[in-house]
Amino acid sequence: MSLLEIQNVNAYYEDFQALYDINLKIEEGDIYACIGANGAGKSTLLKTVAGTVIPKDGHILFDGKPIDRMPAHKRVELGIASVPEGRRVFTSLSVHENLLIGAYRNRKGPWTTDAVYELFPLLVPLAKRQASALSGGEQQALAIGRALMANPRLILMDEVSLGLAPVVIKRIYESFDTMLESGCTILVVEQDVQHVLTVASQVACFLEGRIALEGPPSELTSEQITAAYFGV
């Protein structure tokens, strides 16, 4: 059974249809990358999984059970954690408190504040600092650590590399290994294709609300990807 299965999902923002009949399956242990241009629908897909966008029809199965009408906060309890676009750390809370909020649902698992500090040692000296005082890269590390604190089975990452220095992006992608080892499956949305294709086990290329191309990156040529990305 797939960890996450999306069946015939259509999603709308008011009258605008953002997703057309999306079908995909994510297996446990995958790094599943959704790529595509701005407005292609990849972030919307992530939101339907997180629960902040409710699809008009279609089904979302997590571990075989339908979750498409479940409120966002309950999905965290099942093990779906988010690294939202724009990081969205709690700016008036300290770094350490942000991590503790990540563990709000008390799911059992390997991730504790100590484990997160070990994964991102740069956070250690910042533990007591207010999150608003952090740089973009530090906030992104914090946002990822905060999601891991939920001990997720599936972690949703929206545009993790956006606006970050290449060295920071590299470090973030390196941390994916540790996450996989801890039993996480990763669903990542990216506009920056290069980095993500080096780590992904599956990739889906979104174009105007539909999946234009899908498969393991090793079996896809860069021409195919370019064509699917730009729709030419």
Partner: protein, 290 residues
Amino acid sequence: MDWVNAAVQGILLGGLYALFAVGLSLVFGTMRLVNLAHGDLTVLPAYVALMLVNAFRFNPFYSIPITMVIMFVFGYLLQRGLLNTIVRSGDIPGVIVTFGISIVIQNALLLGFTANSQGLDAGSIENGSIKISDRLAIGWLPLIIFIMAVIVIAALQIYTQRTKMGRAFRAVSDDQDAARLMGINNKHVWAVAMGVALLIAAIGGVMMAIRTTFDPLLGSQRLIYAFEAVIIGGMGSSWGTLMGGVILGLAQTLGAQAFGSAWSILCGHVVFIIILAFRPQGLLAKTVTA
């Protein structure tokens, strides 16, 4: 010495205003809701205590913990049943709905208890005082109220800074959508915040009812004092709210001492306006809203 006496009474009065104000500030801080019914929600517990005292014939002090529990539950249900539906729809619906709640509470109390003033009799402590000199005496009751205000604010501070639910209050206040993605049920958190706000309002409301008489229409005046205390002290700062209450209390009693008691309330408002003009963010403002 009269001035010293007025100052002492003003500080103690400020504790009471702070008890009215912290709940208002807590609700605004966690859900950006301007609760226009907050004044009436400090009057309501006085009537709850009155009913308890009439039913059980005990000292009104014993009614305080029971009233606190009742008001917590009432606040939780009010939030979940009604106010949660308008939290995310901007300022205006919140103002209209809470204004409506204010009218409903006032009229329900008028129907149930008439417009006559009521009182709670706590016995000799009501008039007892510590005599410092011939012209300066500190009443036991105002002193107890002030000390309670300090304890309540310290406890609230510890609650919001050190507990899991307190952290959730602050997280939800920072970013509602991100909080949901962390597994926080915003509706529950808001309801607990409203419950805590009314629990504190119950302490202030019943203490005030023991100290003086009360009637169903006192709420709007208390709402204004509570607003002034919060704004003088600065949004988001509990100790600021206590300071704001004390400044307001001092302005009223010193103003009465200087110009006569008819000027007392006006002096409070004037000091408030001066502070608002020169330091609109409040004296101890912690959060700077962009």
